[in-house]
């Protein structure tokens, strides 16, 4: 849950990038880290294996500066995507204010996307929250690949609740900031 510290005049919000393995969650954070102005960012912290797969989480704190006298900070996290790490995902999701679900557009990844989204719904409910009211943005990543599924087909399987969705290609950065803008506004709207 977002934290409003009246004494320090600070607001902290937590956004988690969730989705199946190798879908581009870490790449989203790396792109944001590479593009954001120096005054806004700090180091990107990664707990990864030697082969660069996320083991626990990546963490990128963004400092948006003062808004109406309140220092506002967004903390971005990723979860490890591999099916095996469900418990770790629950741990990282703890206290999240919003989620970006990074779906892999490749044709052979549809089932993994669907399963991961179902798992997310379960995990949000375990936190005592109603999934349908939880701030969520869908990102259809890897749109640049030739075997990407069409958007209407992805919508049919992944977007029954009509969340805002963004098309992206995280390696080139296309759609990455669109996604971040949408989820940030959703989270702020729920403060």
């Amino acid at each position: 849950m977002a934290l409003i510290n009246v004494a320090a005049r600070e607001i902290h919000c937590k956004i988690v990038y969730y989705g199946p393995g190798m879908g581009g969650k870490t790449t989203n954070l790396q792109y944001i880290h590479s593009q954001i102005p120096q005054t806004t960012k700090t180091d990107l912290l990664s707990i990864a294996t030697e082969t660069e797969r996320t083991l626990f989480f990546d963490f990128l704190p963004l400092d948006l500066g003062k808004v109406r006298g309140f220092q506002t900070r967004f903390h971005l996290y990723t979860v490890p995507g591999q099916v095996l790490y469900d418990r770790t995902r629950v741990a990282v999701l703890s206290g999240a204010d919003g989620v970006v679900f990074v779906a892999d557009s490749r044709r052979d990844k549809l089932e993994e996307n669907v399963n991961s989204l179902k798992e997310l719904a379960r995990n949000v409910q375990k936190m005592g929250k109603r999934f349908q009211d939880f701030p969520l943005v869908l990102q259809y990543n890897k749109r640049d690949l030739p075997n990407a599924l069409s958007v209407p087909i992805m919508d049919k399987y992944l977007n029954p609740l009509h969340w805002t969705r963004c098309e992206a290609s995280a390696t080139t950065g296309a759609g990455v900031f669109d996604t971040l803008r949408v989820i940030s506004k959703l989270v702020i709207g729920k403060l």
């Binding site: 934290l3 009246v6 937590k14 109406r68 996290y77 403060l191």
Partner: protein, 166 residues
């Protein structure tokens, strides 16, 4: 009134932050520790006292909360309710972490000059006080607009548009 999990923000008022800082300062003084932090379980730092040169509290907060959240899942696998305390021992520095009412995490960093037994006793005392603060913060029914002002959301959206773009 029971705590509503659907609430999306926790507002920590001025006077309660002052109380939390008092508790942390006392804990550092009485244990002879180096630094003490109070975190939300989401990893956000609520207050931090001790070594003024510490620049890495944000990353520390995220990692410690991660450790605690991970230990909670380990507890479930062991059919244990939860681990209320964690101790990490280093060559120079040690870390003692305690859960406050399922929402906050109290951390103290201390070196080998301080005995772990003393830390445990004083953390327990501090935890009880912080539990009282947490209870009052949860009862706090102040509306967001009273604290942030009505135009906050619009200003925030403008800032987001300005910063989060290619």
């Amino acid at each position: 009134m029971a705590f509503d999990p659907q609430l999306t923000s926790m507002i920590v008022p001025l006077e309660e932050v002052a109380r939390i800082e008092d508790v942390l300062t006392r804990l550092v003084d009485e244990t002879g520790g180096n630094h003490s932090l109070l975190l939300d379980k989401s990893g956000q730092v609520i207050a931090s006292r001790g070594d003024a040169n510490r620049q890495d509290t944000t990353a520390l907060g995220a990692l410690i909360a991660g450790t605690f959240a991970s230990s909670r899942e380990v507890a479930k696998l062991l059919r244990e309710k939860e681990f209320k305390m964690l101790f990490q021992q280093g060559v120079r520095e040690n870390l003692f972490i305690a859960l406050i009412g399922d929402q906050w995490i109290l951390t103290i960093i201390f070196n080998k000059e301080t005995h772990i037994g003393l830390v445990k006793v004083l953390v327990k005392k501090a935890s009880e006080e912080l539990l009282g603060v947490l209870g009052r913060v949860r009862q706090n029914r102040r509306m967001r607009d009273d604290v942030l002002g009505g135009n906050f959301r619009t200003s925030m959206e403008d800032t987001i548009d300005l910063l989060f773009r290619d």
